[in-house]
Each structure stands twice: as C-alpha cells, then as structure tokens.
Amino acid sequence: MRVADIMRSNLKTIDADATVADAVASLTETGVSALPVVDRLGRAVGICSTQDVLAAEGRCQGPVAREQLFEKTLVLEIMTPWPTTAHPDEDVRKVAGRMLKDKVQRFFVEEQGALIGVISQTDIVAAVAATRV
C-alpha cells in the first residue's frame, strides 16, 4: 500500500505570524492535533501541534509568562520547523517505521516541492481497522 492510498488531502493551515492564541483556537475548532504552518507566500515552513503548544506552556514560569505566550508569541517561535516529509508513492510500512523513529504523529506529503496531503498515525490505524494492512 502506498501513502497516496490513505493520505488526506484537505489541509487546514495556519500562518507563521499568527499568535499562539490563534493556533489554539484553530486547533480546537478544527479538532485536529496539528496544523501545517505556512509563510506569507503560502509555502509550508513547519508544523504546529497541540504538543508544541503544551511544551511551550510547560516552559512558562507563572501566569504573566503564560499570558505573554498566548497573546504575544508567534506560531513561528513554537512550531517544529519543517519536518521530514513523505512521498505519495512511498510504502506505508516504511513510512510507519519512519514515523516511530522520528517520534512524530504525522508526515506531510510532498510531491515536487508542493504540499499535497498529510498521512497520520490515525490514517495507518484506519488501514489496520479495515484490514488493508
């Protein structure tokens, strides 16, 4: 099975210069655990996950720092810079192994430099549930 067979292609993104508060609102509204981060030209530059937000939250010393984090800190500052990607033709088993090795929940799928989808651990579990893997 190839990545393209189970990846999702409808992606909600967030701007790199949006605030952390914006990211929290977007993450909770869309119910996803991570958003691709794009620059002003629409190019993908990173990923902002619930884990990234909580890790930044955990580094805050006290309420003032936490307020600062939400209102003044940009997504760019807490995101994980552009991570390893997958290719649509890659074998799902190989990608599964890479996800665990890199300790990530998902890979963005790129083809010729363009972001075309995302494949997450949930997509792989779905394939198992459907006994396609």
């Binding site: 508060a21 929290v24 609102a25 993450l27 909770t28 655990s33 619930t50 884990q51 937000v53 909580l54 890790a55 939250e57 955990g58 006290g62 309420p63 003032v64 720092a65 936490r66 307020e67 939400f70 209102e71 799902v92 088993r93 190989k94 599964a96 192994g97 996800m99 665990l100 300790k103 929940q105 651990q121 949930t122 792989i124 579990v125 779905a126 394939a127 198992v128 549930a129 006994t131 893997v133």
Partner: protein
C-alpha cells in the same frame, strides 16, 4: 495478534485532585498526548489529553485569567470520564476499529478491573512497521 502482544505496560498516571498544570508538566515531560486519571484507590476513572487542556484554554476569553487557569483547575473538572477500555486478549484489528469509532488515540487495557496497560496508535503503527500486521 492480541492487544497484550503490543501494549505498553509502563504507565504514567495523574490523580483526579491534581491540577491541570501538573498534568501539563507530566504530558510535556513524558512526551505523551494523554494520561490515565486514577482515583485515590488507583482505579482508572478518566483520561486527560492535550486536547482537553487546549479546549480549557480556548474557553477563557480574559487573557489575564488564562495565565492561572491551569493551576486553578483540577484534572477531574476537564477529564473525559469512563475512558474506553479493552481486554488484553482482544484482537488488535478490533482494537484499531474501537479507536477509530471512538475517535481516540489510545485504549486502556483492563484485566479484572485493574489497569494493566495502554494501547496507543503508535503501538499499532509499530506493528505495521514491523510487518506483524
């Protein structure tokens, strides 16, 4: 393949009366997306995830209050009660289906009423990578 073959048996837990700030610290330190919540007798009563924490933060409109909401809120106030459990001898494909239908990232494994492990999406992805499924 059975759940017991790939579940994790080392579990970090959090108490119902602990603060959400404590839960955030543990979630960040352990690099997990959620924690089982246990009562004073050690029985599993809920689960608190990074999404639950972000939901709490997103509901606070006053930026100043957002600073101390994590210390002021108890785990039991925002946890998801009665988490979905699975038995150790359940089939992994069935467990994968339970995860998808419940839209959850982990199933707690109970045997005779005792919490004996957790099966996460990563455990299933690991089995796929190792060609065990």
């Amino acid at each position: 393949m059975k759940v017991a073959d790939i579940m994790q048996t080392t579990l970090e837990t959090i108490g119902t009366e602990d603060s959400v700030a404590d839960a955030v610290t543990t979630i960040a330190e352990q690099h997990v997306s959620g924690l089982p919540v246990v009562d004073h007798r050690g029985h599993l009563v809920g689960v608190i995830s990074s999404t639950d924490v972000l939901q709490l933060l997103s509901e606070v409109s006053d930026p100043e209050r957002r600073g101390d909401i994590l210390e002021a809120t108890l785990v039991r106030e925002i946890m998801t009660a009665k988490p979905v459990t699975v038995e150790p001898d359940a089939d992994v494909h069935d467990a994968a289906r339970q995860m998808l239908y419940g839209e959850i990232h982990r199933l707690f494994v109970e045997y005779d009423g005792a919490l004996v492990g957790v099966l996460s999406q990563s455990d299933i992805v690991g089995a796929v990578a190792g060609a065990k499924l």
